[in-house]
């Protein structure tokens, strides 16, 4: 039985064309003409359904009426005329309805502007069938970089049906024939892209297409560098990777607009203590997680204190966190992987950003010199110490106020279409010092930390357009660090200076329709000079049983030594796509020789000559990742891999460590699923485990051998599950909930009981919600919960009559835990248009509820009283950002 209803107007069939009024904007003709630019198309906010003319419906007539609507700066329809008539009755009905439409204001160069748009009002009679024979394809088209919806993109089937995305990037194609449907996407700055979908009768398939737009200056180039990413399923080689685009990361509460600080909110990442700035990923030690910027390893992602990252946010394109199971292109780390992709911003002329908040001030300037050259530079310097001195002068010496700076300079040369060469220089520096005087010289304490690094690299990339991609990144680096402390007469210092060089090269090609292969080389050479003096117990190591403020052991030693580490790892990785791409099998193999030398095999004794040491550990690292997407809404994945890591140069001291430490290794295993109940919502659940061995631990022997203060007897294991529920930008809302249930343990030597890892946190929950309704306003909240980290409780104490202090007697490692951490942060921001420039103001309030969290246990001098060092109280921070 058939039932006929009148489906009046079809808002999804609305076509918006940027026919703008003269003097307000220009038509985007793709030729890079100068002039105003439509920065925000109007979106239909209030649709009014037209009355279907009864006579026409009786006659079973359908029609399209093309209207030209004039909108004022507020988005109200001030005029409407028919440009393509469908008859008087249809025209009148369409005009009557369209005049009551309400749109969001169109913005030209960021300014609300009057505009004229074309609107096709379609009158259709819908026939509902008891047994459906057609399907519907609906979805959203977004800019891949900022996830912003794209209006005006036309999706056309091979059969000729088409739809154009509305202001929210939505489209709908109804009445499609079931089966495989070929689709073409076309639009402004988007050359025709092809994809296909498989539809079943009666199905309504929701999809999200993330597309990469051409830069305006590239409009005259061919389409080789265009890219389409179908979000479901994600065609990414890492089976477990959380990517955050820079624009989204900037709005995350608690990060003060620092894009890279979003990492600490991702699943699998434990909370680090305030001020530590450490990344603890899947229960691995912070130093076991590798951080790469454009494939170049950097020593740390955050400045001291964890307030800021070391890369200007404006130069960050995206970041990926891969907590484990990553492919053969990376190695030399037992823990996770953070890869930061930077870029040289596009745009005509000279533009820039000035930012300031309570922590620091920064500037970024970019310029396009011509069609082929563009450059950018950024610098930041902290001024928090000046604030502290001004507001609380006598506090300065006690509070470890971080002083930091960083700078980046880069130039990009577009050699030809799809081929670029970029030269990049990175610099970062940190200084933190603190001193606590005391009338007792044995209780005077001082701390000093310094860290500087620089990187210079060139990045050549070529996209052949036929599936081949090549890149070469040669780089040079310099690291310098110093940690010095004094506790009474016991002075400790450890300094290092490293010169590094490396190259990362890869070539990826499609050797068959179902097979892509990538071969590459990841080489790195480091020559490190180190000097250490003082107590062997300071700095503390993971697993040390000690309490905050406890004096270090007062036995001292001293040594200077050097370490050279060479690693030249070729790798190969294949991407085997089966069953029309529903199954991806990605095997990889990486071969790393891990060559290293130490300048001294044994502690220095008298005037005997130093005898060096040369070692190599040839390691083959198999990797395997698999992904199966049986349905668009469901994906299954699994991965496993073997990873190795050279001993830290600091641990290769003949006096303080062990120059013969071998490489340690870890197995990563994971399996999980991704579910997309709707295109804008993704749910990922992953179970994981890692098993490591050969970890450097303090010798437990009463009489350790010389040059064996550390022994590779440690074992580690971490296992658990993580879940990520992520809402892509939808009607102004975006965010995610990340939860990790994990257990991370260490065994100090074979046969000893397993103990909790120092950073073990059973539950880690981060919930983020951002709201950007438009008009430049943004708001967001972040809720964090984490189990407290384990500590060794003090079960007794005894009086040390020689040192005149009480000494603690510890219980088992993990016999106590820090209090659980709960914190709510909030952020509001407003963008203000100032002529051709924009001013962003934001206010972040950390710990809105003034929750009393604890960061560390502290004891009275006789260890009979135990308290908790409080974390940050409610803490507002105001910032501004001027874009010109």
């Amino acid at each position: 039985m058939l039932r006929t209803t009148a489906r009046s107007a079809l808002p999804l069939g609305m076509a918006l064309a940027a026919c703008l009024g003269a003097g307000h904007a220009r038509a985007q003709d793709g030729e890079g003409a100068e002039g105003p630019r439509l920065t925000r198309p109007p979106a239909l906010l209030e649709f009014v359904e037209a009355d279907y003319p009864e006579a026409e419906r009786q006659a079973d007539r359908e029609a399209d009426v093309t209207l030209e609507l004039t909108l004022d700066a507020a988005g109200l329809v001030t005029d409407a005329i028919v440009t393509v008539s469908a008859g008087e009755a249809f025209d009148a009905a369409a005009l009557a309805a369209a005049r009551r439409f309400r749109f969001s204001p169109a913005e030209v160069d960021g300014v609300p502007t009057a505009i004229r748009v074309q609107y096709v009002y379609r009158f259709r009679i819908t026939v509902e069938q008891v047994a459906p024979t057609t399907a519907t394809l609906a979805g959203i088209v977004r800019d891949r970089r900022g996830r912003a919806p794209l209006a005006g993109v036309t999706i056309t089937t091979d059969a000729g049906q088409s739809a154009t995305t509305d202001g929210e990037g939505r489209f709908e194609l109804a009445d499609l024939e079931p089966g495989t449907v070929g689709l073409t996407l076309e639009g402004e700055r988007l050359t025709a892209l092809r994809t296909q979908e498989t539809l079943e009768a009666g199905e309504r398939l929701e999809v999200v297409y993330d597309v990469t737009l051409r830069d305006p200056e590239d409009d005259d180039e061919d389409e080789d560098d265009l890219e389409i990413v179908v979000v479901a399923p994600a065609l990414r080689r890492e089976v477990l990777s959380t990517r955050v685009e820079a624009e989204e990361a900037r709005r995350v509460p608690g990060t003060q607009g620092d894009v890279l600080r979003v990492v600490e909110n991702l699943p699998g990442v434990a909370r680090s203590s305030v001020g530590a700035g450490q990344l603890v990923v899947w229960g691995a030690a912070p130093e076991d997680t590798r951080i790469y910027v454009d494939g170049v390893r950097i020593p740390r992602i955050y400045h001291e204190g964890g307030l800021r990252s070391v890369i200007a946010s404006d130069l960050v394109q995206s970041l990926d966190l891969v907590p484990g199971g990553y492919g053969a292109a990376f190695g030399r780390g037992l823990g996770g992987l953070v890869t930061v992709r930077t870029h040289t911003p596009t745009g005509d002329g000279v533009h820039g950003v000035l930012s300031a908040d309570l922590y620091d001030a920064s500037a970024m300037v970019r310029a396009s010199l011509d069609d082929q050259w563009r450059a950018a530079a950024a610098a930041r310097v902290s001024w928090l110490h000046l604030m502290v001195d001004a507001a609380q002068g006598d506090l300065g010496g006690f509070v470890p106020v971080p002083r930091y700076w960083d700078a980046q300079a880069r130039a990009l040369h577009q050699i030809r279409a799809g081929e670029t060469l970029e030269l990049v220089w990175l610099l970062a520096g940190d200084r933190v010092s603190r001193g606590v005087p005391n009338r007792d010289p044995a209780l005077v304490t001082q701390d000093l930390r310094e860290l500087d690094f620089q990187r210079v690299y060139a990045r050549w990339e070529r996209d052949g357009g036929d599936g081949t991609r090549s890149s070469i990144v040669p780089w040079l680096g310099w690291d310098q660090s110093l940690r010095a402390s004094r506790f009474g007469d016991v002075q400790t210092s450890i300094g290092s200076e490293a010169f590094l060089a490396g190259v990362r090269a890869s070539h990826r090609t499609r050797v068959a329709p179902f097979l892509e292969v990538e071969v590459g080389l990841d080489a790195e050479v480091a020559s490190v000079g180190l000097s250490r003096a003082g107590s062997i117990g300071l700095p503390a190591r993971e697993g040390d049983r000690r309490v905050f403020g406890q004096p270090p052991p007062d036995r001292i030693a001293s040594e200077d030594w050097g370490v050279v580490q060479v690693s030249m790892a070729p790798y190969v990785e294949a991407d085997l796509a089966l069953f029309d791409g529903a199954v991806h099998i990605v095997p990889g193999l990486r071969v790393d020789p891990y060559v290293r030398s130490a300048s001294r095999r044994t502690p220095r004794e008298g005037n005997s000559p130093d005898i060096g040491l040369f070692q190599h550990d040839f390691r083959v690292e198999p990797r395997l990742a698999m992904r199966w997407d049986p349905y668009r809404e469901l994906g299954l994945r699994a991965a496993a891999g073997l990873y190795h890591q050279s001993p830290a140069p600091e641990d290769m001291s003949a006096t303080f460590g062990n120059p013969t430490l071998p490489v340690s290794q870890a197995w990563h295993v994971l399996a999980g699923t991704t579910v997309r109940p709707i295109p804008s919502l993704a749910i990922e659940v992953t179970g994981f485990a890692s098993f490591s061995e050969g970890l450097a631990m303090r010798s437990l022997a009463e009489s350790p051998l010389r040059a064996q203060a550390l022994v590779p007897d440690g074992w580690g294991r971490a296992y658990g599950a993580q879940a990520l529920v992520r809402l892509d930008p939808t009607e102004g809302f975006s965010g995610w909930v990340a939860y990790t249930l994990m257990r991370s343990e260490r065994q100090d030597a074979p046969g000893l009981p397993w103990r909790p890892f120092d950073f073990d946190q059973t539950h880690v929950l981060t919930a983020l919600l951002s709201y950007t309704p438009g008009f430049g306003f943004e708001a967001g909240v972040r809720l964090r919960y984490a189990t407290g980290m384990p500590r060794a409780d003090v079960v007794d104490a005894y009086y040390d009559a020689g040192r005149d202090r009480w000494q603690p007697v510890f219980g088992a490692h993990g016999s106590a835990r820090l209090p659980e951490f709960v914190q709510l942060d909030a952020r509001v921001g407003q963008r203000i248009e100032l002529g051709d420039t924009k001013l962003d103001l934001w206010l972040e309030v950390q710990n809105v509820t003034n929750q009393l969290n604890g960061e560390e246990l502290v004891f009275s001098a006789d260890y009979r009283r135990r308290e908790v060092i409080p974390s940050l109280p409610i803490l507002p921070a105001l910032g501004l950002r001027w874009t010109f």
């Binding site: 609380q392 016991v490 009086y799 020689g802 005149d804 009283r865 507002p876």
Partner: protein, 350 residues
């Protein structure tokens, strides 16, 4: 002004991180009898030599003349993974690592002959056929110590305490010439002494607190206690009666011929092998003072003078109680190389 207020909030927030909760205890208050210090006489001997160990066991009524302190040497080496001062085995009542000395407030014992192998620069005992083990690292004065375990009555309980006595050992890691020079020039630690304990009234009057005597002081007054110790010369001078580190029996027989001669009882200069520069350097001992009182309150429980300072005194404010009472004051002076001495005084607060 708003900006400054905002700044203050932020700074105080950051300062909260540096704010350790109040877990202060009054370490200077004398209450139930407890062990306050241990002195070795002489403070530094070679393995096998006899030493006398004296405990300072005192409470609110003053220094006790007798106490059942149970003394023992500990023979257990400390693993590098143990960040405390000694092995946990050293705190046991008995065991293989415990070598009893005696019971009492003062005992005599011969330093274990293997002290320099167990706790000094000499290679530790090894199983035949195994490589040489790692010697113990020196302390900041370049010295090594033998741990002593004490069992001390604490109310109805017996609790362990620790004392480490300095051993006269050689050097590790030095050349033969440096070792010889060190042996020739190093002067063992001399027991420190308190030259005078003075009470400075608010009006500037200075009263010397004599041992065994009771001195009157007005209640509620904020007085200053001052401990003085002998001044030690900054440079050696032949004929001053002190055999300094740059004097030898040949260069100054008057000062260095008598092996039983006593050195300076203040902050002595001593020779140290600097591990960084691999050279013998001269340092001066720092001096620390622990202040105890049965009533009233000190400004600081501990004061001291670092080795960089030439002071031979240390002062501490004492607020006398408001109520009339008799006050016991004990001052313990420790030098950096493990020497200790103490002085008791009594104040009648009127």
């Amino acid at each position: 002004m708003d900006v400054l207020r905002h700044l203050r909030v932020v700074v105080l927030g950051l300062g909260a991180l540096a704010c350790v909760p109040d877990v202060e205890i009054d370490e200077s208050r004398l209450g139930a009898p407890r062990l306050l210090a241990v002195r070795a006489e002489p403070p530094e001997v070679a393995p096998g030599q006899v030493q006398r160990y004296v405990g300072l066991f005192a409470g609110a009524d003053g220094v006790l003349d007798a106490a059942p302190l149970d003394w023992a040497y500990c023979l257990a080496r400390k693993p590098l993974a143990e960040l405390g001062p000694v092995s946990g085995a050293c705190l046991e009542v008995e065991g293989d690592a415990i070598a009893p000395i005696g019971v009492g407030l003062a005992v005599e014992g011969a330093l274990p002959r293997e002290s320099c192998r167990l706790f000094g620069p000499e290679p530790p005992p090894t199983v035949p056929g195994e490589p040489i083990g790692r010697p113990v690292d020196p302390d900041v004065t370049g010295g090594y110590t033998q741990p002593l375990r004490l069992l001390v009555p604490d109310g109805a309980e017996i609790r362990p305490s620790l004392f480490e006595v300095r051993i006269a050992c050689g050097l590790f890691g030095a050349t033969q010439a440096e070792s010889v020079a060190y042996t020739q020039r190093y002067r063992r630690n001399t027991a420190p002494g308190i030259e005078a304990l003075e009470l400075v009234h608010q009006d500037g009057r200075v009263v010397t607190l004599e041992p065994g005597a009771t001195t009157s002081a007005p209640r509620g007054e904020q007085v200053t206690l001052r401990a003085r110790w002998p001044a030690c010369p900054d440079a050696d001078a032949c004929g001053d009666g002190l055999c300094g580190i740059d004097e030898t029996r040949a260069s100054c027989p008057d000062d260095c011929s008598d092996p039983a001669a006593v050195g300076c009882a203040g902050a002595e200069r001593f020779l140290r092998f600097d591990l960084g520069t691999r050279a013998l350097v001269a340092d001066r001992e720092s001096v620390r003072l622990a202040w105890y009182a049965s009533d009233g309150s000190f400004e600081a429980a501990r004061t001291g003078v670092s080795g960089d300072e030439a002071l031979t005194l240390s002062e501490n404010g004492l607020t006398l109680p408001e109520a009339p009472t008799e006050l016991v004051v004990i001052v313990v002076l420790r030098d950096e190389r493990g020497g200790a001495t103490w002085r008791e005084a009594r104040l009648r607060v009127e």
